[in-house]
Symmetry: D2
Subunit: 389 residues, 4 copies
């Protein structure tokens, strides 16, 4: 079987993470189809050429329109800013290319649905970048729940806490602008929490949320980069048009109760993507800052030694870990992308849709928008409302 030839749009934070994954899959998962990093695409010719050289792509182009129609490309990887996703994806699908698209799929539910429809019509394989599913600890959580070892689920709590914009002088980067980013912490961080909850315990029934923009104006940035930017105290101010924090409560279809919080104002939390699940037979806790660990509790343990176990998920029975190092030798953030790309390669090989795909992207967007509506209208919103519109 032949290699999967990749064309990638975007070369910043996500572009680097994806490039590394394309490089790593053949070394650590030699059983799968081999991704071949062919063409990298970005608007700035010098910057994209530098990225090409550094990340090991064969060639670079500056217009994605040239890329999506090339015969020597099988898969388009979209990690440009969110407002560009839809147009690229529609064109890629129209050209019969498989698509790996970073989350959020699009700026809104309507666009997301359009992307899904075009992908389905084109019969291509499509995937959305919910990489946290691919942490071995999350896989273990999924396994325990699926096998009934946690029992009936009563509670799901999720937090994605960061603090990178807590300084009021941090500049107005694109992630703080609604027209480019779609939303703030809600779409950037909350989307991951929502996807993990759907993956682990199932669909949401209704939601009610609240949100806040604590710092309403910030200095305009002189120079933009992925997640950091040089502040300038004398720079003119611009309006922050996205949420700094969004919280919501939910009732799941199963009857479980959920609470979710995404914020960029939690001092001391660099990247606390965490959840806790309580069921009738046990509980599970995860914190991405300790990626290689899962905390697990079983009500059935002997009564004198009941307690949360700190499971170091680096043993051979843990997902993906026999591909890496011996027990106790940890992996990092970037490995979630390697596992994700591996899933895409296997799906192509087996001629099936990878998971998570655009369906998951749309469903996540439904929940995000239901929360937005609940905030605006100050009421509970059923997910069904949005599905039926």
């Amino acid at each position: 079987m032949s290699n999967v030839r990749i064309g990638m749009v975007g070369y910043k934070f996500m572009g680097k993470a994806h490039s590394n994954a394309y490089r790593a899959v053949p070394m650590f998962f030699p059983d799968a189809l081999k991704p071949e990093p062919k063409v990298i695409c970005g608007r700035d010719p010098q910057a994209v050429e530098k990225a090409r050289a550094q990340f090991g792509w064969e060639s670079a182009v500056t217009d994605w329109r040239d890329l999506v129609s090339r015969d020597d490309i099988d898969l388009i990887d979209i990690n440009a800013p969110s407002d560009a996703h839809k147009e690229i994806a529609l064109a890629a699908a129209a050209n019969g290319k498989h698509i790996f698209c970073e989350k959020p799929l699009a700026l809104n539910l309507k666009d997301s649905k359009e992307m899904l429809e075009s992908a389905e019509k084109a019969g291509i394989k499509h995937m959305v970048g919910f990489n946290y599913r691919f942490a071995p600890a999350v896989q273990l959580a999924k396994k325990l729940i699926s096998e009934g070892r946690i029992g009936k689920i009563y509670h799901y709590r999720a937090w994605f806490l960061q603090d990178w914009i807590i300084d009021e002088q941090f500049p107005l980067v694109w992630r703080l602008q609604k027209d480019i980013a779609g939303s703030g912490s809600h779409g950037d961080l909350g989307a991951h929490c929502i996807d993990l909850a759907r993956y682990l315990i199932g669909e949401f029934k209704e939601v009610i949320g609240m949100s806040e923009t604590f710092v309403k104006q910030r200095p305009l940035p002189s120079e933009m980069t992925g997640l950091t930017a040089k502040g300038n105290k004398d720079a003119p101010l611009g309006d922050v048009t996205v949420d700094d924090a969004t919280l919501f409560m939910t009732r799941f279809e199963s009857g479980a109760l959920g609470s979710f919080e995404a914020t960029r104002f939690a001092a001391g939390h660099r990247c606390t993507n965490a959840f806790e699940i309580n069921g009738s037979k046990g509980s599970i806790k995860f914190d991405f800052e300790r990626l290689n660990e899962l905390q697990v509790y079983f009500t059935g343990d002997d009564e004198d030694v009941q307690g949360f176990r700190r499971v170091l998920v680096t043993d051979a029975p843990h997902a993906y870990m026999d591909a890496w190092w011996p027990a106790g030798h940890t992996i990092g953030y970037e490995h979630t992308f390697t596992h994700e790309i591996h899933e895409f390669m296997k799906a192509i090989e087996e001629d099936r849709q990878p998971v998570p795909n655009f369906v998951d992207g749309v469903k996540c967007q439904e929940i995000l928008e239901a929360v937005d509506r609940s905030i605006e209208e100050r009421r509970w919103v059923a997910i069904k409302e949005l599905q039926e519109e």
Copy 2:
């Protein structure tokens, strides 16, 4: 100055905790007025006599009406089940006795207000048993916030997670019956979270909640005790009439966002009374299961050594700790009551109201009921609504 002579109604879990505190205050806080455990009161003559002997009270009576009017009693301690609080408190106030009342003050807001009014009219000293305020770690949190070391507060998160009724066969004890207990996890556990939040960062503006009773029927108990009871599989079933879990979101008057959760269905959590506070200059984390620790983070720390500090709050500068043992020698749950009673003794000596008092009890009840209303009516409820009724 003379001793404060105590008459106590109730002798189960809380009665034992209070008795211990009356005994400990003179030994560890000899500067304050000395409480004198005179009379203990309970309906069952044999049980109360046993408690009297064990807990070291001078005499026992079976009718609280006899107790509240005695001349040799200065202070009535009410830790009977919640439905009895009001009647006893009104009688005690009418007789000019100081009152220490366990939380919740009463079964509902109306009764709580009546208790406060009668106490104010009688000019007595009154206190409500929000003992968690008196953990040294909570005192440190209060100090850090008050001194501005955490900055402007953005987020408050609170959980009170327990698992003592997770077994579906656990019997229908009085704490699961609305007519006696008033409410379930919300009033029992959530009340503590609400009080701590008010104490630490101020008043609530509006709330919206959700709740659930996961196990709707349970075996009737053959024998009741404080928190445990023998289950009986063949016993007839009765309806659980309180909430197993209640969650709510809030906006504080200050603009901070809050989320609260109380549940008795969190497997592995015996008594996780926890909170986290995020401010512009730092963060604070507390978990009652690690009572002697406070996690503190400062944004102003040197940039290469920023991280949550695990502060063992057993040093001399920490509240109350010079009264106990050398640094590093921990205290336990019961000490919060000793500190609480110490505060009451000092307030009497200094002729001022102790804190927290019935005002705090009423305000907590306002929030509890606002949450209840928000659940019933599925909408945001302003605290002001209840205050103005």
Copy 3:
């Protein structure tokens, strides 16, 4: 059965801890004989009278010789500085009084043996204050090992880390003077580690140690107290005559390997009395700063969920805990003394020796001195050497 009437020599840190225990036993362990705090003894009349009033003793005396011969005293509690232990104990035994003696039993092995012999000759009950045995977590460790759930023991590691004299200006209190204290960290802290190891996994075979006095001179104190003292930069300096830190390795009779460390120079450790045990079927970790927790690992756990469990030892099945509070409600340092005194009361009632008793005090001293000799002679020393002398 009648009460056990106590006469206590000493009223500082340990005197306070013991007083509290005598007071607490009847309330929390009403099944046992009741200790009756009769007479407290100390050299300074004003100070001892203040302690008497605060700690609730009936009367105070200034000469222990008056105390040990009184007819109305059944048990002599010795918690005066170490150099006074022997003389008091011999006199108490000669008068047929039971003895509760703080550790170290005496300044040296010879004196310890003399104390044991006199106690055995007098036929009294004797106990030595190794209070850490009485932490519920330590009891659980003992239970797990005894029941074979940890398997054959390979490793024992122990540390007692403190930092209270890390400031070079901290004054030369009695605990830093060999003629009063006997030794420094070794006898004060290491003794506890040795006793726990003997209790948990058995006898030592041979040892080799090293020690150091990092700060060799300190200001003479103006005023002495238990563990703190006011420093005075202009005060004349005196020689520190005890070890600041002592480490040693051991081979147990069972073949297990051990390493031990006691130091007062471990910045950040207020009272880290910790151990770890590794066996063929599992491991155990304990840290006194988290007194209510035991970390336990079992090799037999399902292979995908192996990990150290954090057991909160506050459930009813855990030792002593049904006497205190509901699950999840923690206890503190002082409770170890209450459990210890309870054991003594039960032993008297059942007419047996309490455990640990002077035999354990002597055996601990043997090991302490074997380590001292190994340091002096720079060689491995067999415990048998000292036993046969």
Copy 4:
């Protein structure tokens, strides 16, 4: 400047880790010379060809003698079993190739010295694979100590705890055979601890150790791999000729006291490479299982908020981290090798010796052998003894 062309001998666990590092350096550290993975070498033609394809090497050979003399190779990477290191290294040096050699440098001190001498004579660059130095947390520890922020060092404690051979049926792999591996836990794990201690606080003065082989015979393996092997209960038994565990104490040249332990019999510890350092101004704790964290304590912190800080070493100021991902996004075990190779590339570019190099390999071996001698002769051994032989 041209690329550095690599020839690598070995293709198992370490070969895979090194291959990944050669691949990662150009992507994440594009400033440095680029390593070029040219030729991989192994005795089994099929296995080495499979490794070549998987790990991305240009060609494969089966005899290292062919490799060391090739003109198109600049650097020989030696990660074959320990007994092969010396011969290959001498030949590589003789051919003027730079050498990257896995630890332990050789089976004994004599051979190590010979390797160092030949490398120095040849004027090549040489490095030894003490990869743990290159964890960002270790780099931070080094920085804090170097800048005096921990003060004068009093204590160093190190443990390398594993449990991969705790099952008595685990087979007799090469790492358990003295003639191939040189030693057991001591040389494999203890060597890392020794190197970190030397790196962080300086040279050892004298040592005394103890060791044990708990399981003295094991089934002969049917098939060998890196760290795992299929056991076979019916297989004939062979003698384990290395130590299962080795402990030792040390006095450093600086006066600090040290204790070290390496074992493969610590149930529940997959890869606990941990140390703690106590100084006059603070303390440091590290555990490799939480690679991205360093615990730091400062005595100078405000007295009410003193505590160990959990520093997540993923911020831009932390070593190497600006090359990877945004703050809070963790790295794993393999990254230590990438940093290590980067150091080697920079050293070649700057025409200086990389650190750690063969000098460090020799010094580590001196200490390992001093410990061995102290065990055999049951006495303290000065490092100088071995240096002067």
